[in-house]
C-alpha cells in the first residue's frame, strides 16, 4: 500500500498562487526590466546586460553593498548573543513571565516608520532625550552631521527594535527543553557554562537558525528606519542598498539600473541565507 497520497499537493495550490502573484510575477517583471531601458509611456528598449555591467562597475553600488554588509554583521554580532543572554535571564515561571514577554513584544509591535520617527526625535540634540542628555554630559553628539554618530544611532535603534525577536525565539526554544536534561546535568554536577554549551545551545540551534536568518535578511533589506532617521546621510554614510535602490528607481526613474541592482541584491541575500541555513543545519541529519 502506498504510504502517501500525492493529491495532497493540491492543498498547496492556494499558497502557490499567492506566492506567484506576490513574488514570482514581480520577480519576472524585474528580470524583464533589467535588460531594457525605458523613458516612460510603457515603451522599452533592449539594453542587454549593460545595466548589470554598469551596476557591477559602479562605486556607488559597491559602497552601499559594503555598508550594508558591515551593518548586518554588526547587527548579528550584537543582537544574537544579547538575545540569547536576555532569554537565559528571563524568569521561567511566575508573574514575571507575562510581564517580560509583553515588555519584549512592545518594540516589535511598533511600525517601522514610527520607530524611525521616535529615534529621529530621541536623538536630536536640541529637543531629544538622548541627544539632549549626551549634549548636557559634554558629548558633541550629532547624528545629522557626524557619520559615526549616525551609524551608532542606527545600530542602537535596530538593537532596541529587533533584539526582542531573538529573545522571544530563544525563550520559546528554552521553554521546550524537558526538565529531565537539567536534572541529569545537576546529577552530573555540570557547571552553568556546561549546561549552556551542551544542553541549551544545541537545543536552541533551530530557533537560532531562524533568528539569524530573519535578522540577516531584515537588516540587509533595512530601509524605513534609516530613511526616516538619517535619510541616508550625512553624505552617503548610511545609504544602504535599499535606500539607493529606491532613489534610483523612483527619483531618477532609472528602472533598468534599479532592476539590475535589485537582482544582484536578491542573489546576495539568497546566497548568504543559503550558506547560513546550510552551515547551521548541517549536523541535523
Amino acid at each position: 500500500m502506498k504510504p502517501w497520497n500525492n493529491r495532497a499537493w493540491f492543498l498547496v495550490l492556494p499558497m502557490l498562487l499567492l506566492v506567484a502573484f506576490s513574488a514570482v510575477i514581480p520577480l519576472m517583471t524585474v528580470v524583464n526590466y533589467s535588460v531594457q531601458d525605458t523613458f516612460g509611456d510603457n515603451k522599452f528598449f533592449w539594453a542587454g546586460v549593460e545595466w548589470f555591467r554598469k551596476t557591477l562597475h559602479s562605486e556607488r553600488f559597491v559602497s552601499a553593498l559594503i555598508r550594508n554588509l558591515i551593518f548586518s554583521g554588526i547587527i548579528l554580532a550584537v543582537e544574537v548573543p544579547l538575545g540569547v543572554l536576555i532569554a537565559l535571564r528571563m524568569p521561567k515561571k511566575g508573574i514575571g513571565v507575562p510581564i517580560c514577554l509583553v515588555l519584549m513584544s512592545l518594540p516589535l509591535l511598533i511600525p517601522f516608520n514610527v520607530v524611525g520617527t521616535i529615534w529621529q526625535v530621541f536623538g536630536r540634540n536640541d529637543i531629544g532625550l538622548l541627544g539632549g542628555t549626551l549634549k548636557s554630559l559634554g558629548f558633541d553628539y550629532n547624528y545629522v552631521s557626524n557619520p559615526v554618530h549616525a551609524w551608532v544611532t542606527l545600530i542602537v535603534m535596530d538593537v532596541w527594535h529587533w533584539t526582542s525577536l531573538v529573545v522571544l525565539l530563544c525563550y520559546a526554544g528554552l521553554a521546550s527543553i524537558p526538565d529531565a536534561y537539567y536534572q541529569a546535568a545537576q546529577i552530573d554536577g555540570a557547571s552553568g557554562w556546561a549546561r549552556f554549551r551542551y544542553i541549551q545551545l544545541p537545543k536552541l540551534s533551530r530557533v537560532l537558525t531562524i533568528a539569524v536568518l530573519l535578522r540577516f535578511m531584515d537588516s540587509f533589506m533595512i530601509y524605513t528606519e534609516p530613511f526616516v532617521v538619517t535619510g541616508g546621510g550625512p553624505g552617503n554614510a548610511t545609504t544602504f542598498l535599499s535606500i539607493d535602490l529606491v532613489k534610483m528607481a523612483t527619483r531618477e526613474f532609472n528602472l533598468g539600473g534599479a532592476a539590475a541592482m535589485s537582482l544582484i541584491y536578491f542573489l546576495i541575500i539568497l546566497l548568504v541565507s543559503w550558506v547560513f541555513y546550510t552551515v547551521m543545519t548541517r549536523h541535523e541529519d
Binding site: I25, M28, T29, V31, N32, Y33, V35, Q36, T38, N42, F44, W46, V49, F52, R53, L56, H57, I264, L267, L270, L271, W274, T278, R282, D285
Partner: protein, 93 residues
C-alpha cells in the same frame, strides 16, 4: 490579457521557459527515480538532486555576474563555465 506592463522580451521568456523546463525535468526524474538520490559529496553536506540544481543555478548566476564584472568577454564564456560547473556539482557535490 494585456501583459505589456511586464515588458516581456524573447530572451527573458526563453530564460524563464528554460528554468520551468529544468523544474519539470527534475519532477520527471523524481518520478522515474524517487528519493532524490541523497549523498554526501565533496562539500561534506547531505544533498538531494534538487539541492544540487539549486547550487548549480545560484552558482551559475554568480559566475555570470563575475564574468560581467571582471572580464570584457562575451557571456557565452560564462555559460560554458557554468555548464562545466553544473556538471561538477551534479557529479561531486
Amino acid at each position: 490579457m494585456d501583459l505589456s506592463w511586464m515588458a516581456w522580451t524573447k530572451p527573458t521568456a526563453i530564460f524563464f521557459v528554460v528554468i520551468a523546463l529544468l523544474i519539470a525535468g527534475m519532477a520527471t526524474w523524481e518520478r522515474i527515480s524517487p528519493g532524490g538520490s541523497p549523498r554526501v559529496g565533496v562539500l561534506r553536506l547531505k544533498t538531494h538532486r534538487g539541492d544540487r540544481l539549486f547550487i548549480t543555478l545560484l552558482g551559475s548566476a554568480f559566475i555570470h555576474l563575475a564574468w560581467l564584472g571582471l572580464t570584457p568577454f562575451s557571456l557565452w564564456g560564462a555559460l560554458i563555465v557554468s555548464a562545466i560547473y553544473g556538471t561538477l556539482v551534479f557529479s561531486f557535490v
